[in-house]
């Protein structure tokens, strides 16, 4: 076994994982179709929530990969191939966006006839109209897919040729990509989520969504890293310090999420303007407030105090449990951002709010495993890898000739 071998050669069960998740996703899709015929309105709401969650995993992982190209660090080398596989789910996600296009009239009030008589929406019509909405969506997907495609392509090319120039190219693309991709995600969150309440606006909303995506992705990558490190060749590479760094990133994103969420609330609370407070009125003065309270406790306070502890961050078993919990509360946050705008009166949970996100996640995982299979699990020719991790592998006597590719 050599490091340049693909993940599948090291871990044959990946193919079976892919099949299992795709089958589960397919079964979920059938069940979801039943939901569509029984209550299309609810179907599209749950679909949007599930879609934004899986899209966030791909975009967040792409973001982590680009940040790592710019910052460096061992934490990024060990998750890079898994993050790349997550980003390469984007073409499938582009197709999975179509139901939202068809469900526009169910979701977005500004597409209705009455919007023509709404004095505020008339002024926003130059931006919030169906044609421009679709053109923008096409542009976002073009940018995201292009970033994922080129970063993956060059990384694969480097696996083959070992050309260090490619690292420079990836860094340059990442510098531009963090900016342009970040702007696209900001505007996509305005278009697809914030416009659910078309009168309302918050400039920090895009950042709030982005930080949620990064948090979910770092949690997912921790789970996968620990899973992979129970098998060769990653077992020779994983060190407590890498988990410690990833845990610290999770802590940082948790704090930034709380900071952005509270900033948005504080500014709207202090201004107390009718068009701004509406969003919080039906969230805080109805039974939705329990969801808000759950977020304060489980999305901020609990992970914050647990992640302060070094012992937890350095222990694979504990950090994986915590990362899974963080993944779970991300669902509650997405629910909080989307559902109250479509059910103003109070807390409303449908079976579809569980089934559709889980089905989409199963499909996402299936495609993720398919993408993970075909490549080596470590970027062996990345200059940083040779500098920092190659010696660990050599020490571990992993294979017959660990550095044979040189």
């Amino acid at each position: 076994m050599r490091l340049t071998d693909t993940a599948e050669q090291h871990i044959p069960e990946l193919a079976q994982k892919q099949r299992t998740f795709l089958l589960a996703g397919g079964a979920g899709a059938v069940l979801s179709a039943v939901g569509y015929f029984s209550d299309p309105h609810q179907f599209f709401q749950s679909y949007l929530m599930g879609y934004m969650l899986v899209l966030g995993l791909s975009l967040g992982s792409l973001g982590l990969a680009m940040i790592h190209q710019l910052s460096g660090g061992e934490w990024g080398i060990v998750i890079r191939r898994s993050a790349g596989a997550s980003a390469r789910v984007l073409p499938v996600l582009t197709i999975l966006f179509l139901p939202i296009v068809f469900g526009m009239h169910h979701l977005y009030e500004w597409t209705h006839e009455e919007a023509l008589h709404d004095p505020i929406l008339i002024k926003k019509a130059a931006y919030l109209n169906e044609t421009f909405f679709l053109v923008r969506a096409a542009f976002y997907f073009l940018v995201w897919n292009a970033l994922a495609f080129f970063l993956s392509k060059w990384s694969l090319e480097q696996d083959r040729t070992g050309d260090p120039q490619l690292t420079r190219k990836m860094q340059q693309l990442s510098a531009a990509g963090v900016l342009i991709g970040g702007m696209c995600t900001t505007f996509a969150s305005f278009d697809w989520m914030m416009s659910l309440a078309p009168h309302w606006f918050s400039t920090i909303y895009g950042l709030l969504v982005i930080i949620g995506q990064l948090l979910a992705s770092v949690a997912f990558q921790i789970v996968m890293l620990v899973w992979l490190s129970r098998r060769k060749p990653m077992s020779a590479v994983l060190q407590p310090i890498q988990l410690h760094d990833l845990g610290n990133l999770m802590l940082a994103f948790t704090i930034v999420w709380a900071y952005f969420s509270f900033s948005q609330y504080l500014i709207i609370w202090a201004g107390n303007l009718p068009e701004e407070i509406d969003w919080y009125m039906h969230r805080l003065f109805t039974s939705w407030k329990w969801i808000g309270l759950a977020l304060v406790v489980f999305h901020f306070a609990c992970p914050f105090f647990l992640l302060l502890q070094r012992r937890i961050k350095r222990n694979p078993d504990l950090i994986v449990k915590l990362a899974m919990a963080v993944r779970a509360v991300r669902i509650i946050d997405m629910f909080w951002l989307i559902a109250p705008d479509l059910h103003h009166d109070g807390l409303h949970v449908s079976w579809m709010d569980l089934v559709i996100p889980i089905s989409l996640f199963a499909i996402w995982l299936g495609v993720y495993f398919q993408q993970l299979r075909g490549r080596a699990l470590l970027p062996v020719h990345d200059p940083q890898f040779e500098e920092r991790l190659a010696s660990l592998i050599a020490h571990a006597h992993l294979g017959d000739e660990p550095k044979a590719a040189h």
């Binding site: 310090i241 504080l266 107390n272 302060l308 070094r310």
Partner: protein
């Protein structure tokens, strides 16, 4: 009265072994810890993460102190805001109640950071026993190299197991390039 005779002879601080790599130092520290030496310290030009464990040092109390500093800072910030806004200088701002906790959060947050950061810096100094104008380790001839490219392990004379001859042989046995005495 001739009790001053002994003071003219310098006392011994310990024995210092010189190593050429971080790896060798960590291995030596592990061996010394295993051998049962307790009063010892390692010196290196770069931080070495494993060293703490290799020397068998107890975990630092600093994180717990920083948490405490942060909590005290946060509570005092919140208390200050309450006192100012409710009793010291009550002002009607936008018709909001005097006790408007959301407005107090930024100050509470900043004071948490301030409390934690100050505790961290000064706690580090105090726990490390700094500032310390004199330390016998600087009497060792080649110790200046510790800030360049050499690594040192010092076994102090205060250790119960310390014995000039034995300890010297031991340090040489675990790979020290050179072993020197350090005067107090």
């Amino acid at each position: 009265m001739s009790s001053h005779v002994a003071s003219s002879e310098p006392k011994l601080h310990g024995l210092i072994g010189e190593f050429t790599s971080a790896d060798a130092l960590v291995k030596a520290a592990e061996a010394a810890h295993h051998e049962g030496y307790k009063a010892m310290d390692a010196y290196s030009p770069v931080p070495i993460e494993e060293l703490h464990h290799a020397l068998g040092l107890p975990n630092t109390k600093l994180p717990a102190l920083v948490l405490l500093g942060g909590i005290i800072g946060g509570l005092s910030g919140f208390a200050l805001e309450n006192w100012v806004s409710i009793s010291a200088y009550p002002l009607n701002i936008g018709g909001k109640p005097l006790y408007s906790w959301p407005a107090f959060i930024p100050v509470t947050y900043e004071c948490t950071i301030l409390g934690a950061a100050l505790t961290c810096v000064f706690g580090m100094f105090i726990l490390n026993g700094l500032p310390q104008p004199y330390h016998p380790i600087f009497n060792a001839k080649r110790f200046a190299m510790a800030s360049r490219d050499r690594f040192f392990l010092c076994i102090e004379a205060a250790d119960k197991k310390f014995d000039l001859q034995h300890t010297r042989t031991f340090l040489e046995g675990i790979g020290a390039r050179e072993v020197m005495t350090v005067e107090d």
